[in-house]
C-alpha cells in the first residue's frame, strides 16, 4: 500500500512529478550523450591500435600515443622476426598528407601504409570495394563519412596526396582517426607520399604465437631492440587515450559538462520532490496520526524516488537511443559500450534516491499532531 500511495501521490501532483522526471531525463540524456561522445572520441583516438590484429606494437623510444613517434629502421624487422615468441611481424608506415581537391584546395589526412601482400591491419569495414584494392600500387581508400571533405570521389577516380598520384580503390565505412581523415594504402605508396625511405617504417606490428607469454615476449623484444618503445596493444591503446584526455582538455571539458548535467538533474529532482512534500505535509501528518511510522513515510518517499527514477530512465534512455541511432554514421563521434547503460541507470537511481533524502527528512519530521490543527 505504501507503493500505491507513493504512485498515487505522484500521479496527483502531475506538474511537480513531471519536473522530477525531467530531472532524471536530463541526467540520463545529457550525461549519456556526453559520455557517448567521450567514448566515441576515445575510439577515434586509438582506432588503429584497437582494430589491428597485432599483439605488440614497436614504436620509437618515448612514444606516448600511437599517432606520434618517428621512424624505425627496417632492419629491426628481421631482429623481431627472429624472436621465438613471434608468429609474424609486419612494418607499418604512417604519414600526413594533403589531398588535392578538384577546385585547387587541399585537405589534410593521415595516410596508413600496409605491407603487401598480406595488408595486415587494413581497413575492417567497407562501404564499397575490398581490401584487395590496396594491392594496386596507386590505390588508396576514402571513408564514406569523409566523402564530402574529399569532394565526393568515386572508386577509380584519380587525385593527388602531397602531389603524388593516388586512385580511390575502395570506400571504407565509418573509419576515422582522432587527428582527421584516415586513408589506407600500401606501404610503398605511403612511403612515396610521405617521402619515407625504404629502410624506414613508423611501427612494427607483432603477432605472438599462441604459446607465448605476452609480458615475457615484450621483455625479450625490448632486449633485442633496446632503443624502442614496446607496447602490448592494450597498453598502447590506453596510453594513447590517456595522452589525449590529459593533453587536449577533452577529458576535463566533457567531465565538467557531465558534472553540470548531473548537478542540474539533481537540483531539479530535489527541488520538485521537496515541493511535493511541502504541498503534502498535511497528508503525511494524517498518515502518521493513523499509525504510519517515520520509516513508513520514508519508504513511501523512497518509492516515489524509485518510480521517478524508473520513468525518467526509460524516457531518458529512449531519447539517448534516438540520439545514438541518429549519429551512428555521422561525423559526430558517439559510442555507448554495452556495460555503460546499466551503470549509468544505477548511478542515476542512486542520485535520485540521494535527491529524495531532503524530501524524506522533511516528510518524516512532520508531526502527527499537526493533523489536528
Amino acid at each position: 500500500m505504501r507503493s500505491i500511495t507513493a504512485l498515487r501521490m505522484l500521479l496527483y501532483d502531475r506538474a511537480t512529478t513531471a519536473g522530477s522526471v525531467l530531472g532524471v531525463v536530463a541526467i540520463i540524456f545529457l550525461v549519456g550523450q556526453q559520455l557517448s561522445i567521450l567514448f566515441g572520441l576515445l575510439n577515434f583516438m586509438s582506432v588503429l591500435v584497437d582494430h589491428m590484429p597485432a599483439d605488440v606494437w614497436i614504436c620509437t623510444v618515448n612514444t606516448e600515443n600511437v599517432n606520434s613517434g618517428g621512424a624505425l629502421p627496417m632492419r629491426y624487422l628481421d631482429r623481431v622476426r627472429g624472436v621465438d615468441a613471434v608468429e609474424w611481424a609486419e612494418p607499418l608506415v604512417r604519414t600526413g598528407g594533403l589531398y588535392s581537391l578538384d577546385d585547387g584546395r587541399f585537405t589534410g589526412l593521415q595516410v596508413v601504409g600496409l605491407s603487401r601482400p598480406d595488408l595486415v591491419g587494413g581497413p575492417w569495414r567497407f562501404h564499397q570495394g575490398s581490401i584487395d584494392a590496396l594491392l594496386d600500387f596507386d590505390a588508396v581508400t576514402a571513408d564514406r563519412m569523409d566523402l564530402d571533405v574529399l569532394g565526393y570521389p568515386e572508386i577509380g577516380s584519380v587525385s593527388e596526396v602531397n602531389r603524388v598520384r593516388v586512385r580511390i580503390g575502395a570506400i571504407t565505412q565509418s573509419i576515422r582517426g582522432f587527428e582527421g581523415t584516415l586513408v589506407f594504402t600500401n606501404i610503398d605508396k605511403a612511403r612515396e607520399i610521405g617521402n619515407v625511405g625504404a629502410d624506414q617504417c613508423s611501427n612494427i606490428l607483432v603477432k605472438l604465437t599462441s604459446e607465448a607469454d605476452p609480458a615475457d615476449a615484450v621483455r625479450i623484444i625490448e632486449r633485442v631492440l633496446p632503443n624502442t618503445a614496446v607496447f602490448r596493444s592494450s597498453e598502447l591503446s590506453s596510453s594513447t587515450r590517456s595522452y589525449y584526455l590529459t593533453n587536449t582538455g577533452i577529458g576535463g571539458s566533457i567531465g565538467f559538462s557531465t558534472i553540470i548535467g548531473t548537478l542540474v538533474g539533481i537540483v531539479i529532482i530535489t527541488l520538485t520532490m521537496y515541493t511535493t512534500v511541502l504541498n503534502r505535509q498535511k497528508d503525511f501528518a494524517v498518515l502518521r496520526a493513523l499509525g504510519a511510522r517515520r520509516k513508513d513515510i520514508a519508504i513511501t518517499i523512497l518509492f516515489q524516488g524509485l518510480i521517478i527514477a524508473g520513468v525518467g530512465s526509460v524516457i531518458g534512455f529512449f531519447l539517448l537511443a534516438v540520439f545514438l541511432y541518429g549519429t551512428m554514421d555521422s561525423s559526430l563521434p558517439t559510442y555507448m559500450p554495452l556495460w555503460l547503460p546499466p551503470i549509468h541507470a544505477g548511478f542515476t537511481v542512486l542520485l535520485c534516491l540521494l535527491a529524495s533524502v531532503l524530501s524524506m527528512r522533511r516528510a518524516t519530521r512532520v508531526e502527527p499532531a499537526t493533523a489536528f490543527r
Partner: protein, 241 residues
C-alpha cells in the same frame, strides 16, 4: 465494573511557545470506558484537543502516566506508539483529512496497510461493507474532492472504523458540517458507541453534539472542571453546558 480502555493519571502537558513554557494541560486524571460517547467540551485553547491527542498517543504527556487497555504506554517509543495507534485507535479529524491523491476505498485501506501490510481480500470487503453502511457504496472509486463535505466526513468515520479499533477519537467532526450532515455523522457515532465494545471520545464546542453525549467533560484553562454522565439520554439542557 466496566474496565477502562484508557486511563490517565496525573497527566500534564507543557508547550514551549518560543518565549515561555506554558502548561496547556494541568494534572488530569481520567478514565474512558467502552460503550460510552464521551464529549470533551470547552472553549478554544482550553486544552481539549491536547487531551484528545494525548489519549490517542499522538502527543506524549510531559508528566503523568497513561494506560491503554490496562497496559502502561507512557514511555513507549515513537514507533511503538504508532503501532498502538494503528491497532487500537480510530481517528476522525476536523475536516475529514482524507488523502486527495487516493480514492475513497484506498483512503480506507491505507489506514490499515500504511505499515506495509498486504491489503487482504477481507480488508477490502470490510472497506466496502463500511462504505455501504454509511451510504457511500457507490463512491468507492471516487476521489475525496468529488464528495460533499458531509460525505467526506462519513468516509473519515469509515476510515476510523476499518481496523475495528477499541477507541474512536473524533476532533470536532461536525464543525464544518451543515445541520443535516451533522445529524447523520452524530447518529453514526452514537450507533458506534452504543455497540458497547468501543469507546468514542469526541472533542467539540458545538452544542448540537451534547444531546448525543453519554458523558460530558468540561475543560477550561487546561483543567477538567466538570465531568457528568447522562447514559442513554444525552445532555438535553444546553444551559448545563
Amino acid at each position: 465494573m466496566v474496565e477502562e480502555v484508557v486511563r490517565l493519571e496525573l497527566v500534564t502537558r507543557d508547550f514551549y511557545d518560543g518565549k515561555q513554557l506554558r502548561t496547556v494541560l494541568k494534572k488530569t486524571d481520567l478514565g474512558i470506558i467502552p460503550g460510552e460517547l464521551t464529549v470533551l467540551a470547552g472553549p478554544s485553547g482550553s486544552g481539549k484537543t491536547t487531551l484528545l491527542t494525548i489519549i490517542g498517543l499522538v502527543l506524549k504527556p510531559t508528566t503523568g502516566r497513561l494506560f491503554i487497555g490496562g497496559d502502561e504506554v507512557t514511555d513507549k517509543s515513537e514507533d511503538e506508539r504508532a503501532c498502538i495507534r494503528l491497532r487500537d485507535f480510530g481517528f476522525v479529524f476536523q475536516q475529514a483529512a482524507l488523502v486527495p491523491a487516493l480514492s475513497i476505498t484506498e483512503n480506507l485501506l491505507v489506514s490499515q496497510a500504511i505499515q506495509g501490510d498486504r491489503v487482504t481480500r477481507e480488508l477490502r470487503e470490510q472497506a466496502h461493507r463500511l462504505l455501504s453502511e454509511l451510504g457511500l457504496s457507490e463512491h468507492g472509486d471516487s476521489k475525496p474532492q468529488q464528495l460533499s463535505t458531509g460525505q467526506q466526513q462519513r468516509v473519515g468515520i469509515a476510515r476510523a472504523l476499518i481496523g475495528d479499533p477499541m477507541i474512536l477519537l473524533c476532533d470536532e467532526p461536525t464543525s464544518a458540517l451543515d445541520v443535516e450532515s451533522s445529524r447523520i455523522v452524530l447518529d453514526a457515532l452514537k450507533t458506534i458507541s452504543g455497540e458497547g465494545s468501543r469507546a468514542v471520545v469526541l472533542v467539540s464546542h458545538d452544542p448540537r453534539v451534547f444531546p448525543y453525549a453519554d458523558r460530558l467533560i468540561k475543560i477550561e484553562d487546561g483543567s477538567i472542571i466538570n465531568d457528568t454522565r447522562h447514559p442513554g439520554e444525552g445532555v438535553q439542557d444546553e444551559e448545563s453546558y
